[in-house]
């Protein structure tokens, strides 16, 4: 009888740990990917200057009526360097509208990075003091939000967008949203 109690206790703990390991293995971002409460909510509005043209103002509401991505990036973020060339491919070959949120960055460094690895962005909002980042519940960079035609956030992806993520998660969603009214 005593052995059974110990065995059951062991199985409970082992089961919990195995589930944790399994979930972490399935999704590399598991430990950090806390579901955003903003999913299904309107994209928080901001009005920030454009990195390439300080006279212009970038506003999420300007993109109502189209499906677009908000990509949080900074030249200080190695994962952003990794995903940047691929974002460029998405923009050029798939015609995806990507709005950049240049977060906590130095203007010169940001421009330098765009010169090196291309500019995938339709517009780039400059947010050195996290004015918009806190409103969007940003944890780190890169983060990519999918916003639908009504201006509702449909998905948040934490980490670099890779071909695998695009094909399996983002492209199907964007297609579906593009067909919706």
């Amino acid at each position: 009888m005593k052995r059974w109690g110990v065995l059951i206790g062991f199985l409970v703990v082992a089961g919990l740990l195995t589930t944790g390991i399994y979930m972490a293995g399935k999704d590399p971002g598991f430990t950090r990917a806390i579901p955003s409460p903003l999913i299904g909510k309107p994209a928080p509005e901001f009005a920030l200057p454009d990195l390439l043209d300080a006279g212009k103002t970038v506003r999420p509401s300007d993109y109502k009526g189209q499906v677009w991505l908000l990509n949080v990036w900074g030249s200080w973020c190695p994962e952003c360097w990794k995903e940047h060339p691929y974002l460029d491919v998405l923009h050029r070959e798939h015609g995806v509208t990507i709005v950049g949120l240049n977060w906590r960055d130095e203007r010169a460094d940001a421009l330098n990075m765009l010169n090196k690895s291309g500019n995938p962005y339709t517009a780039i909002a400059v947010d050195p003091h996290s004015a918009a980042a806190v409103d969007w519940g940003v944890y780190g960079a890169p983060e990519t939000f999918v916003v639908d035609k009504q201006g509702i956030i449909q998905r948040k992806y934490t980490g670099a967008v890779t071909p695998d993520i695009w094909e399996h998660e983002l492209e199907p969603l964007l297609k579906q949203l593009a067909e919706a009214p």
């Binding site: 005593k2 206790g9 806390i34 409460p37 928080p44 806190v134 944890y139």
Partner: protein, 154 residues
Amino acid sequence: MRAVWMIPLLLAGGMVLAGEVRHFDTPDQERIYKELTAELRCTVCQNQNIADSNAELAADLRNKTFKLVREGKSKAEIKDFMVQRYGNFVLYNPPVTSGTLLLWIGPFLFLLFGGWLLLRLIKRRRAAQADVTVDDAQLRRAAALLRGKEDSDA
């Protein structure tokens, strides 16, 4: 005694080191700010509140908290603001919902389970003790052992 004049300087130095000197309109605002920064989690840290963390995100959240406090927002309103953006994870005391129920009652379940194991163990020991029978010869030997004369009696 000559060094007394240095005390205010030392205190000021501490404040500058902390990096953030906040000026509030009312003592109430300062209290709310202190309570909130102690209760809000630095979401990118390992178990630190935003008051204790040097992470940039913690600084952002402190700034935002400060701004909202100065705007006259209540504690509940500011908590709501943070939860709407960062989720319940930002609170050190998450509300009891279906998603956090296990988090709240989990420790008590473990306590119950441990108590149950302990009770069983004690009962088992008692039962085992009751089974022990001692005859007179053994008792005499035990008494001799206690007196330290095992060899002579045995």
